[in-house]
């Protein structure tokens, strides 16, 4: 059984590995700081947000360890952006390969996702350093983190399947997605605490939490930084509404995979 699976996915796995390795080698080619940029990019964004929103606008005064809280949100969001933005062009960008070789198309999308996952793990190690220096008390809730990362991985991969297959026919998708990502950054409680929204409207804060990215980031903060934060489990306690973000992830991923599978035989001639 295991051997059969291994045989069936052997070719995919060999290609996947080489694509990830190649991406790793080529990513920061010609830049002086090289792979350090993987860390510097989210850290720079974090620094800007910290100075503007925490120092001047006094966001998150009520939340303990708000800098770490903010950094974790930025790191997880950056992962989602990296995977999906690169995902849009992943199939078209490998058009030359598609037209000359019949290999499982999904490998290209998965490879982008795996590359970004490696970066995410490195960034999470930096978050861990912040956690230690900030004197955050870690709890057993940390055991949830791998599951939360898994959900994020699946959701971002699912979106990439959809976007990359759509982009083959509709070349507007990358512009549309850029705008949506910008909007998503402000619609997701990354730089502001959910409690701030709650002061204006309880419904709005609940509505924001339905977004899987909000649920993922809030759950991760709960697991790593502080239990004094709103998650779907606390906000929707006692009702089944907390299942909505997970349902969205499942539906998006399955539908995207089906769409991708349906369209992939035509990639070679449509690109």
């Amino acid at each position: 059984m295991m051997d059969q699976l291994k045989q069936r996915y052997r070719y995919s796995f060999i290609i996947l590995k080489q694509l990830v390795v190649t991406d790793f080698k080529l990513r920061y080619k010609g830049s002086v700081l090289g792979y350090l940029w993987t860390l510097l990019r989210p850290l720079a964004l974090f620094a800007v947000l910290y100075v503007v929103f925490v120092n001047f606008l006094r966001f998150g005064d009520a939340i303990p360890h708000y800098p770490v809280y903010l950094l974790l949100g930025v790191v997880l969001w950056s992962y989602f952006v990296e995977v999906t933005v690169n995902g849009v062009t992943s199939i078209v960008g490998k058009g030359d390969l598609m037209r000359k070789l019949a290999f499982p198309r999904y490998v290209v999308v998965v490879a982008g996702s795996v590359s970004a996952l490696i970066n995410l793990v490195i960034n999470l190690l930096v978050v861990m350093l912040f956690i230690v220096f900030n004197g955050v008390d870690l709890t057993w809730n940390i055991v949830w983190l791998p599951l939360i990362i898994l959900e994020l991985f699946i959701f971002a991969l699912g979106m990439s399947f959809l976007l990359s297959a759509l982009y083959v026919r509709f070349r507007d998708i990358n512009y549309v997605w850029e705008v949506l990502i910008q909007a998503g950054f402000y619609l997701t409680p990354i730089l502001y605490p959910l409690s701030l929204v709650e002061q204006f409207s309880e419904f709005a804060s609940k509505f924001l939490l339905i977004n899987p990215m909000a649920q993922i980031i809030q759950d991760a903060r709960y697991a790593l930084v502080t239990v004094q934060t709103d998650t779907v489990h606390t906000v929707f306690a006692g009702s089944l509404y907390w299942l909505i973000p997970f349902t969205i992830v499942a539906v998006v991923t399955v539908a995207s995979a089906i769409y991708f599978r349906h369209k992939s035989p035509l990639f070679a001639e449509e690109i």
Binding site: R10, Y11, I14, I15, K17, Q18, T22, K25, L26, K29, D96, L97, M98, R99, K100, L101, A102, F103, R169, F170, R171, D172, V176, P265, L266, A268, E269
Partner: protein, 395 residues
């Protein structure tokens, strides 16, 4: 040769949709919503393949032959599962490896070594497997000193050598080889043909796309001839090569005698004729004076690729042509040594020092030849051979 079928192509058709107005942006949904949602009525189907059927047996060297645009490459891509057939079925027994192009997946920013591993992976080899064959690959490509340099610093010849060296390692039940493999310098072409010979000796199943009728006759066990997206003939490669040349000719002869301007001074050529009789070509033409008195006339025979094969002129043959009577008729004859292929004959008349061409008729004649000898080379009739039976016996 085994009777087992390696590839079975059953009634395959392929249409490409060519939308007259390509719908490729969301803007179009607003501008032409009906077209987009009714499935775009302006789509025109281009029939790239129509009802193609054939089998390739195991151990067979199978040729796909046809003019540009006849559907060869589409067929190859369907066999490689890069395209899906619109109708019909293709079944392949075992693992199929396509060489549509050399160096697929090569990245100029990586070193030679890294590219070997990358393109090896695309051919289905794990790192361990490439480790084992790496030295052989480098040695065959003759690039030992360059493997740690970036590929973009390679000459194109070096890149092709490396790609070919990796490609020839492929272990497949069926190999698909496109004609692009036969590019490169003479040395590399020889390597290619050596590789083909080895494949043939090893009874490897090969599907081979080509324009080169000599290669078809030499390597292929059977072949398919395609024209206008349809099968013309499947079977004996000699017959395929003959039919291919028949298809090719009308196209070429229509272009003959074009761009030959009639001169206003010196001399001109008229009334040219060519006949083949008793294995000899008899060619004659008339030269009319337009002022010149002494001229030199000659001709040149070239193959379809434009390579000059042989020719001569009146000075080489130590004949002088005097036009004081206004016109002369020249009659030439030469042995029919032409083998398979298309040939063009240019005729020319110039001044008596060969410094000024008065009149040149390019492609005055186009000859299509399907020889009975079936040799891949012209048979020169002046060769003699003596067989001495005694010299083989020790006295």
């Amino acid at each position: 040769m085994s009777e087992r079928i390696a590839i079975s192509v059953n009634n395959v058709s392929k249409n490409f949709k060519l939308p007259h107005q390509k719908v490729s942006s969301i803007k179009d949904i607003f501008i032409r919503p009906l077209q987009v949602f009714r499935g775009n009525k302006t789509v025109e189907a281009q029939h790239a393949l129509r009802n193609i059927s054939f089998d390739v047996r195991e151990g067979e060297f199978f040729g796909i032959v046809g003019r540009n645009g006849s559907g060869k490459s589409t067929l190859l891509k369907i066999l490689a599962e890069i395209y899906q057939p619109t109708r019909g079925e293709v079944s392949v027994r075992g693992r199929l490896v396509p060489f549509i192009e050399l160096g697929v997946g090569f990245n100029p920013e990586l070193t030679g070594r890294e590219n070997v591993y990358l393109s090896g992976a695309l051919n289905g080899f794990s790192e361990k497997e490439i480790d084992a064959m790496y030295d052989d690959i480098v040695e065959f490509a003759e690039l030992e000193a360059f493997m740690d340099q970036k590929l973009r610093n390679y000459s194109s010849g070096m890149q092709v050598r490396l790609a070919f060296s990796v490609a020839t390692r492929s272990e497949a039940d069926v190999l698909l080889i496109d004609e692009v493999l036969a590019v490169g310098d003479a040395d590399f072409q020889r390597k290619c043909f050596d590789y083909f010979k080895k494949l043939k000796k090893d009874k490897q199943t090969v599907v081979f796309v080509t324009h080169d009728m000599t290669a078809v006759r030499e390597y292929c066990d059977r072949a398919i001839l395609m024209n206008d997206s349809r099968t013309v003939f499947v079977g004996d490669p000699d017959k395929v090569a003959d039919e291919y040349l028949k298809i090719l000719l009308p196209k070429n002869s229509s272009s003959s005698n074009k761009a030959n301007t009639i001169p206003k001074e010196g001399a001109k050529i008229t009334n040219q004729n060519l006949v083949l009789k008793n294995n000899k070509y008899h060619m004659d033409f008339t030269i009319e004076s337009l002022g010149a008195k002494n001229v030199i006339a000659g001709f040149k025979v070239s193959d379809a690729a434009g390579r000059a094969l042989f020719g001569t002129n009146s000075r080489i043959m130590q004949k002088s042509i005097d036009l004081k009577g206004g016109k002369v008729k020249l009659a030439w004859s030469f042995d029919d040594i032409l083998h398979d292929g298309l040939y063009d004959i240019d005729i020319v008349v110039s001044n008596d020092t060969l410094t000024q061409v008065f009149h040149k008729i390019e492609r005055a004649f186009t000859v299509r030849k399907a020889s009975r000898q079936r040799t891949p080379y012209p048979v020169y009739p002046g060769i003699t051979v003596e067989i001495d039976a005694r010299s083989g016996i020790d006295v």
